[in-house]
Symmetry: C2
Subunit: 198 residues, 2 copies
């Protein structure tokens, strides 16, 4: 019985509320009151716990990044070969816990707002370089050096694009289907014949 402090309970509740309310109303349109109402609380209490709206959004994004990181680790732990390890990146992003309209729309809206806030931009940069280096590492044993960066950028742009489309599909997309499709793209990338005009 983990004796949870109220502070931690509220923290989590408000983060879930922020995800839900933001998905409903949009990242910028959503108000403190709407977020608070999501769990029957009041706007002032958000400031009591988080200090400001920006900070709440920031913490919410960090929460998502933590889940993503942990999920990725799980998949890596059961990966048997380099190809599995590459797939693990997609599997983590497309995990059912993550691959919901709520999460994807928060994510996409957050990123598109990132360039306008030093605070958010930092988070964005950290994540970008994390993903980039994962891709590089996993592609290293699979793709010869001259094509590796091209392939990496293709895979990364594809990944971002899928999120964008999930954020905009109101019903969400079946995670299994997303994985299959990513799998197809991975096969393409790995089957590339050396000698294409790069």
């Amino acid at each position: 019985m983990t004796r949870k402090k109220i502070r931690d309970i509220r923290h989590e509740e408000f983060i879930v509320a922020a995800l839900e309310a933001t998905h409903k109303r949009g990242f910028h349109a959503v108000t403190m009151s709407e977020i608070a109402a999501e769990i029957g609380a009041t706007a002032a209490s958000i400031n009591y716990y988080f200090g400001s709206k920006d900070q709440l959004m920031f913490e919410t994004m960090r929460h998502l990044l933590r889940i993503l990181g942990a999920t990725h680790k799980q998949y890596l732990d059961v990966a048997l070969d380099p190809k599995d390890r590459l797939r693990a990146i997609f599997d983590a992003h497309f995990d059912p816990r993550f691959f919901t309209p709520q999460h994807c729309s928060f994510w996409v809206q957050f990123w598109s707002a990132a360039p306008y806030s030093a605070h958010l931009e930092r988070l964005h940069r950290i994540n970008q370089s994390r993903v980039k280096s994962h891709f590089r590492a996993e592609l290293a044993p699979l793709v010869p050096a001259p094509f590796r960066e091209t392939m990496r950028r293709i895979l990364q742009s594809y990944l971002d694009g899928v999120w964008l489309s999930v954020a905009q599909a109101d019903r969400g997309i079946d995670p299994r289907h997303a994985r299959q499709e990513a799998g197809a793209l991975i096969e393409l990338v790995l089957s590339a014949e050396v000698g294409g005009s790069n």
Copy 2:
């Protein structure tokens, strides 16, 4: 000498101003005054010409869609074979007139706001289905039916993803490079060996 009416001149000026100011300050953060200041005018005159801020943003997006459509047409006109026609979609999106941080960031921010406004959503849907049917049509002679939809989605997600990354790269990306990379992906897709899983 096309005798332009003031109304048309201002329309265009304010649209350029909206792109510039939005890129600087963000889609939601940007104010009427900031947009107007961009051309030494005043916020009230935007309402005089456009009726509201939303309407200005809407018209600005339509402007971008018009450019995109016209550019695509140009590339189609000089396409010699099916593969060229497929490339034309990417060439249009990656045309230097279009492929600037200003345009891409406006575009991405606009799309991510689209689900929260009936007005914008309509525009978004129209564009999505336009692009989708172009891809379908161009892929038809190139990819056998069972794989066609998968390939289309891969190409479309990739395209969206590239825009997202340009919007976030403050220096922009060399259009020629983007085309080369898209070309590499097209080659991959077309070289796909029938018989992959799925």
